[in-house]
């Protein structure tokens, strides 16, 4: 009989103690390393809806849709799992301290239907122009800007009105009271074109 070599014996004994090398995966959950780049996830509280992530995404995996008719105007932000390449550019470009969209550790993303399961959405409230109904930006975005530029935000009525509205300082009564003076348009949140029109007239 051929005797086993010493190396083989050592390996056999080692295997008895250490256990098998093969992972126990489907029976035991797998945890990737902390740095693993998994699916990007929106943080609905932090995200300001600025679309910077959509701009930089190399794979066009981020999209948006502005719904303005019927009730509340909102912007739906899409992240398409079936197109995303998990590169993390969106996270690096995020203006909200890189926290509006963040790569998670999620790797188990298999799904069965691309029509219904292949994307994730969040809704952001939109600010419309009060004269023409044009989309200006997300409410959170305007607030974010006015917070960032501090007192400079008083140079733009749109910015400080959105700030004041947020604080509850002005309400509809004040606005309707102003309307009587005939120049109430100037005290509205307006898109750039309407702002120019009202200033010129």
């Amino acid at each position: 009989m051929k005797l086993p070599k010493a190396r083989e014996l050592v390996e056999a004994i080692k295997a008895l103690i250490v256990g098998p090398y093969t992972s126990k995966f489907p029976y035991k959950p797998h945890v990737p390393y902390k740095s693993f780049r998994g699916q990007p996830k929106y943080d609905p509280d932090k995200c300001v809806g600025c679309l910077a992530c959509e701009q930089v995404c190399p794979a066009e995996a981020i999209g948006h849709e502005d719904i303005t008719d019927g009730g509340e105007a909102k912007r739906v932000m899409y992240h398409y799992t079936d197109t995303c390449i998990f590169c993390g550019t969106c996270e690096l470009a995020c203006i909200a301290d890189n926290e509006g969209i963040k790569l998670s550790n999620d790797w188990e993303l298999a799904f069965f239907d691309r029509k219904t399961e292949s994307f994730e959405t969040i809704d952001k409230e939109l600010q419309l122009c009060e004269i023409c109904g044009e989309v200006i930006a997300c409410k959170d975005h305007l607030r974010w800007i006015s917070e960032r530029i501090g007192e400079l935000s008083f140079s733009s009525p749109t910015l400080y009105y959105s700030k004041l509205k947020e604080l509850g300082v002005i309400d509809e009564n004040i606005v309707s009271a102003l309307r009587d003076s005939g120049r109430s348009d100037r005290f509205k949140i307006l898109c750039a074109r309407c702002r120019r029109e009202t200033t010129l007239t």
Binding site: Y80, D82, T83, R114, K115, S118
Partner: protein, 158 residues
């Protein structure tokens, strides 16, 4: 071994009439524009006598004309010579270098297929990689390339 100055001087004197322009961009890069008809002489001289390694050729559609850049690297002086030839965009024709050394063969076919450059004297010029249903006379790397396939889906396709 020759130094960098010797090599450049040698090229300039030897091909005085062929060189249109010489751009000494940096210590490691030299761009040399030559007349299209002298490509075989200059190319084979650099490859054989200067013992350069042929890196690759790159065809560029520059809107007003079509350019080909043949890149040669001379490792012993750490220099990269790019030969530039400018061709007429309507009918780009140039002599093939395949007879001089084998390494050019593939890239010439590639350029002929994707940029529509004709290589005179290439031993076998036929369709390469694009599929059979690809229409004649459509060159994807030209700047004026337009989608020809009506069935193609250019979004996620859901």
């Amino acid at each position: 071994m020759r130094t960098r100055e010797q090599v450049l001087k040698d090229l300039q004197t030897r091909f005085k009439d062929d060189i249109v322009d010489l751009l000494d961009k940096s210590p490691k890069r030299v761009y040399m524009e030559i007349k299209p008809e002298s490509i075989v002489r200059v190319g084979s001289y650099i490859f054989k006598d200067l013992e350069a390694r042929f890196n690759i050729a790159s065809g560029v559609d520059a809107r007003s004309h079509i350019e080909i850049l043949y890149h040669f690297s001379l490792e012993y002086i750490n220099l990269l010579i790019s030969l530039r030839v400018k061709l007429d965009r309507k009918k780009p024709v140039i002599d093939s270098l395949t007879t001089e050394f084998k390494a050019v063969n593939w890239i010439e076919r590639e350029m002929s297929e994707l940029l529509g450059i004709e290589f005179k004297g290439h031993p076998e010029m036929k369709r390469l990689l694009l599929p059979d249903e690809w229409p004649e006379g459509v060159y994807p790397l030209r700047t004026d390339y337009e989608e020809w396939d009506k069935n193609a889906i250019r979004d996620r396709g859901v």
